[in-house]
């Protein structure tokens, strides 16, 4: 059975990689392959250097052409092309790089590691990941398609689905699953409501939405929806860890002992899980911060422009994480007691 599945996966892997390397007909834009690249001119700038590249390219029919491209040492907004790169072109204008093949290979590496090391749990988290991605895309599509649908409502529905599916996949259908689902939904709601109230009370002072200005939609709503989904994972992590530890003690310890154990576990995990969120959000701001500093913008301005939304998300997530600890304990105890009475 196992070998059989591995065989199918292997065939899929080879097939998908082959396909993505030969899918040029799927695209309406012309695709060319770089067969030779040479630098024809170098210009020194104050902080950087510019290079002009002459690219000899070949299209799908074997026709050869010449394109020019300029790149810099920093490559913040330009690309250095090399032999073998595949580019989308319109006329003699390069409009993009064909990256789909790399993503497919990376996806297989990801699947391989998760399954090889995680075994059954790895496969489970892959399936729940795939389902969650599907739900996310559905929620966004519904929101974008129908004007009347509020983003917060569609995110809230998605959140409930995410929670139920992920937790059932991680821990099966047991009493602790119920506890984890209730605790997750309560914890996420708290993170969301606290953030919302804080924003209303302070008139959103301190939040800089400039980085979301490309959106043609109300960005504070998009920010809040992102905050809701972003907190969910961390809150779920706490709820699952707590409830599975507590329910494993169910038959050997008194309710009082279980409560105390829960408090100890909670202390151990709240810092690390808040940190996971912090790093996931804040690191992404580094490239833009570098650009601001290099352009001579002041320290405080750079920090508040680039970090305010990320830090707000991390803090709200942290609030969700910490409040989920007592919630998980009380919900678990309540369910255990109810079972004892019945």
């Amino acid at each position: 059975m196992k070998k059989w599945l591995a065989g199918i996966a292997f065939v899929f892997c080879i097939l998908s990689i082959y396909t993505v390397y030969h899918n040029h007909s799927w695209y309406q834009t012309a695709i060319v392959t770089v067969i030779e690249a040479k630098v024809i001119e170098t210009t020194s700038l104050q902080q950087d250097q510019l290079y002009e590249q002459q690219l000899t390219v070949e299209d799908h029919n074997g026709q050869i052409g010449i394109l020019t491209n300029t790149y810099s040492n920093s490559r913040a907004f330009d690309q250095k092309y090399q032999r073998g790169d595949e580019l989308f072109v319109k006329g003699d204008q390069i409009i993009g790089v064909k990256r789909d093949k790399y993503l497919v290979i990376a996806a297989w590496v990801f699947i391989f590691f998760l399954v090889l090391i995680g075994r059954k749990q790895g496969i489970r988290s892959l399936i729940s990941f795939a389902l969650n991605v599907f739900i996310l895309f559905m929620a966004i599509s519904v929101y974008v398609r129908y004007e009347k649908v509020n983003l917060l409502v569609s995110s809230a529905v998605a959140t409930v689905l995410f929670t139920v599916i992920s937790i059932i996949f991680v821990s099966g259908r047991t009493a602790k699953t119920t506890a984890a689902i209730i605790a997750t939904l309560l914890g996420t709601s708290i993170a969301f409501i606290v953030a919302l109230v804080a924003m209303l009370l302070t008139n959103q002072q301190g939040l800089q939405y400039e980085e979301m200005q490309f959106l043609t939609r109300p960005y504070h709503i998009v920010f809040l929806a992102g905050l809701l989904i972003g907190s969910l994972g961390a809150v779920m992590d706490v709820a699952i860890t707590m409830t599975s530890a507590l329910f494993s003690m169910q038959h050997t310890a008194t309710l009082q002992e279980i409560k105390q154990a829960g408090q100890t576990i909670g202390k151990d995990i709240m810092g690390t899980i808040t940190n996971i969120l912090f790093f996931a959000y804040v690191s992404g701001a580094i490239p833009m911060m570098l650009l601001y500093f290099k352009n001579g913008l002041p320290f405080g301005y750079t920090l508040s422009m680039n970090l305010s939304l990320e830090v707000a998300r991390a803090l709200a997530g942290g609030i969700g994480v910490v409040s989920t600890i007592p919630i998980s304990i009380y919900v678990s105890l309540w369910l255990m007691k109810r079972k004892q009475v019945a």
């Binding site: 490559r75 979301m212 490239p287 650009l291």
Partner: protein, 250 residues
Amino acid sequence: MNVLVVLAIILLGLMVIVGGASGVRSFISLFLNGIILVVTVFFMLDTATNILLLTMFACVGLSAVNLFYINGINRKTMAAFLATFMTLSLLLGVIYRVTDVTMIQGFSEEETEELDAYNLLVGIDYIQVAAAVIIMSTIGAIMDVAISITSAMQEYERYSKATKRELFHYGMNIGRDILGTDTNTLFFAFFGGYLGLLIWFKDLSYTFGDIVNAKVFGSEVLTIFTAGVGIALVIPIAAFTSIMLKQMIR
């Protein structure tokens, strides 16, 4: 009053109520992480810096704060520290190559409209920056998995006379149990962060082909995949360093 100040005070209050002294420590460590991150950005500004090397130094600093400051210096934190360091070094080398090949560094057309006013030719190697960002986004999760494994293994060996092999398997099993929840934490954090962008893709009615070849999308997907691989990879490494240190100390 500023939103961030209000949220920070509420978080501190909750951490103190729920965690007491260790809650305060968790809050301080969050603050220290922020400082290390900003200092790292400052060092990156010097174009002579090797950003990959700098990232490794930053990772050492960050793991020291989060492992040693919170849990003290002992065998299990040393083992977790080593495992985090080994995993991140391994990943960083690979990620750098991947960013170079896939060309996902820097800013995309989607973002650059607002960047018109800025000089983008700043001489900093954005390929190395992109690799640094991907690594730093996952460091929290990798440390979490590492410390959970090494501390569970230390508890386990105290109560049982397990052989090296059994101990390794025990560590692997602990790791597998956290794999699902930790990958979930990161996935949702990234989904939440990317929500604006995904809506925007839809609004511009990008085709599926446009999206999968876009620079921003590529960098986000690669970040998610790297996080998954990193979390998986640290499991056997942490089980190994834990056993290695146990033998060295005895």
